[in-house]
């Protein structure tokens, strides 16, 4: 007759499950917590305003972005599309990442590689990303691109449009616009004001020859974006989805545009 000690009983199963559960939870808390749920409100809340009357579709923003963020030629973090015609003027719409306050990509990422910074920027942790591409499917704005192959060799946008400020992403991760967080962070450290001082402002805003883009802190009533939002009617893309983008557009007004096209 076999002794009781030799049997695996219900108590053992429960113990095993308790140990397993504790291990899993420990694993979770070994990692630094990161915001994947409601946006934490930091001191600064960055936002962008794009005046569609001023955008001429030149694409300088896309090129400056490629250089400063070392983006390969087949990917655009900031895509400019021709959206229509108004009184003989062609209307272009640049689309960076919307840095949504309720971002679908952050919700769906299985590893928390997409997360909210306290200043509202939706960040990508390229070391954590596993390349499942769920965020691309979830993003309503097509703001994300996958690195199907490694980006090797020189970047054609460098040095004409600027110098890379961040590390090139490896093959197999999803990448997107980061509001040039590196310029904001370095600028703040140097005592500059993002949106006012060029060195602390996203590359696309600085590169725009018609000053169609404004950048700044929503918490600062005197920032260029706060002023623009107060003074002019604006809208955001696909507001019906409830994503609450941080990129605002000033609708095109023919009287503000120069010449015909």
């Amino acid at each position: 007759m076999r002794g009781k000690s030799n049997r695996i009983g219900r108590r053992d199963v429960l113990k095993l499950m308790a140990v397993g559960g504790a291990t899993l939870v420990t694993l979770r808390y070994l990692q630094p917590a990161r915001a994947t749920a409601p946006t934490p409100q930091g001191k600064h809340q960055w936002a962008m305003v794009i005046d569609l009357s001023k955008c001429t579709g030149c694409g300088y923003c896309t090129l400056a972005c490629r250089a400063h963020n070392d983006v390969p030629p087949n990917i655009s973090w900031n895509e400019v599309s021709l959206v229509g015609e108004l009184d003989g003027h062609l209307i272009y719409l640049p689309r960076p990442c919307m840095h949504c306050a309720k971002a679908p990509c952050v919700d769906v990422c299985p590893v928390g590689a997409s997360y909210y910074r306290a200043d509202g920027i939706v960040m990508m942790d390229y070391d954590r990303c596993i390349g499942c591409r769920y965020c691309m499917i979830a993003c309503p704005y097509g703001a994300r691109a996958f690195n199907w192959e490694a980006f090797r060799g020189p970047n054609p946008a460098v040095p004409t449009w600027g110098q890379p400020e961040v590390e090139r992403r490896p093959r197999g991760v999803v990448e997107k616009c980061s509001f040039c967080y590196q310029r904001i962070d370095r600028g703040l450290a140097l005592g500059l004001t993002p949106g006012i001082d060029a060195d602390a402002t996203p590359a696309c805003v600085v590169a725009c020859p018609t000053k169609a883009r404004l950048f700044g802190d929503l918490n600062d009533p005197d920032s260029p974006v706060s002023k623009a939002l107060r003074e002019q009617p604006t809208y955001r893309l696909r507001e019906d989805l409830g994503t609450q983008p941080r990129v605002y557009y000033i609708p095109p007004q023919p009287e503000k545009m120069e010449g015909g096209s």
Binding site: S81, P104, V108, E149
Partner: protein, 418 residues
């Protein structure tokens, strides 16, 4: 001719093994190519980032659902007679989940980071929940399959102690059935929710997807288990089945198909009312567009209605050939449903530009490397099942669990000691 056949060692078993082996080698070569060159060699794109491999994941997990459903039946609903069938289902389940993991490893851009969801949690993500449940359930399946694996003669003869210890795991069966039911209910439905929670994709954005994925998985899983048992019994001397058991289970699948048809029909009808950008275009693709053949024949007529009729009409059900046809169609219908569901949401792109919502369309045809790796993974599944039938008596309805015996003995002991 007869003399020729005698000269050539014509052994169907060996030919089968060689054929599967070749497919696995080809698949492995394809896998190496994918890891080496990257996903650029597939036909996946930023517009259609999920394709054939995701269908393989979803299908192998869905068709592995026989394991949890039959185990729940045996251990929780008291259908003890179905124990041998549950044993087959458990083995198919183990194969299915390992197949899914292989396909996932190919599909993700950074396979070396596959373990990240276990360590870096995002509890808001349905995909995170699916990954956790799949990994935990794989552990459950390994434990549940221990007694089966212990019956491998090599293990029994060379490592009798290990084999005995593994057999002990059958005491856990009822607990594992509970845990398995919990984990499976979670991730089988969440796989539907992976699609169902995306507001950006109107054809997916609905709560029904979870329910439909769960229900179709149970149907596909049980169908495949019964079908595999019937085929094994016809091709292998090692497989012995009790046809009454199989026929009853097939009958049950017939009833499940009614429930599934009811939900699918309402899901479809509800989608036809009023124009909704993106959703209506998706429906068009399913009912009239490129996926219409798959949808009407693969999913609806051949996948639900025909098997339903065959399995509920007694003379047809009792005919082994027609029963097998029906079970095959039901399982294939589930695969077609997964393929169509994944693709239809990706083929319709809803614009983000201001003004009336514009719709753009994308296309996708799997690349050769996607096909050969998929076939390789399928061959692995078939090989594992074939070896299981031959060496582990995976399909053997004479096999009796020791559980019943030991419970009996224990009861006597208690009676005596009191």
């Amino acid at each position: 001719m007869k003399r020729f056949l005698r000269l050539v060692p014509f052994d169907p078993w060996k030919i089968w093994l060689v054929a599967l082996g070749l497919m696995i080698v080809l698949g492995l070569a394809g896998g190496v190519l994918v890891f080496w060159k990257g996903l650029i060699i597939t036909n996946l794109s930023d517009w259609v980032p999920w394709g054939l491999w995701i269908t393989l994941d979803l299908s192998s997990i869905a068709l592995a659902a026989g394991a949890f459903s039959l185990c729940a039946g045996v251990h929780l609903f008291g259908l003890k007679r179905y124990q041998p069938l549950a044993r087959t289902a458990l083995f198919i389940g183990l194969i299915g989940y390992t197949m899914a993991l292989c396909a996932l490893l190919l599909d993700i851009g950074r396979p070396q980071n596959f373990w990240h969801p276990l360590v870096y949690w995002n509890p808001h993500s349905t995909l995170w929940e699916v990954t956790m449940c799949v990994c935990l359930y794989l552990l459950v399946l390994i434990l549940e399959n221990m007694p089966t694996l212990a019956s491998w003669s090599f293990l029994r003869e060379r490592f009798p102690k290990l084999s005995n210890l593994m057999k002990q795991a059958h005491h856990l069966a009822p607990f594992l059935a509970v845990v398995g039911l919990l984990l499976s209910s979670l991730h089988q439905s969440s796989l539907g929710a992976v699609y169902g929670v995306l507001k950006a994709r109107p054809i997916w954005f609905k709560p029904e997807l979870s329910v439909l994925f769960m229900l179709s998985a149970i149907i596909g899983g049980i169908s495949l288990t019964v079908l595999a048992s019937m085929i094994a019994a016809r091709l292998s001397r090692q497989a012995k089945v009790n046809d009454v058991l199989l026929e009853r289970t097939a009958h049950f699948v017939g009833y499940l198909l009614i429930a599934y048809f009811y939900f699918r029909a309402w899901d479809l009808l509800a989608t036809t009312y009023t124009y909704a950008p993106g959703r209506s275009e998706g429906l068009q693709i399913l009912t009239k567009g490129t996926l219409s053949f798959n949808f009407w024949f693969g999913e609806m007529i051949m996948g639900i209605l025909l098997p339903m009729i065959i399995l509920l009409y007694q003379p047809a059900r009792q005919n082994p050939f027609w029963r097998m046809v029906a079970l095959f169609l039901a399982a294939a219908g589930v695969v077609a449903y997964r393929w169509d569901t994944n693709l239809v949401g990706l083929m319709v792109v809803v614009s983000y530009l201001p003004g009336p919502i514009q719709i753009a369309y994308t296309t996708y045809h799997p690349a050769p490397v996607e096909w050969i790796t998929t076939l390789g993974i399928l061959a692995y599944g078939l090989l594992a099942f074939s070896l299981g039938v031959k060496y582990l008596r995976v399909v053997d309805h004479r096999w009796v669990t020791e559980e019943a015996k030991s419970l009996h003995v224990e009861a006597e002991e208690v009676a005596l000691s009191r």
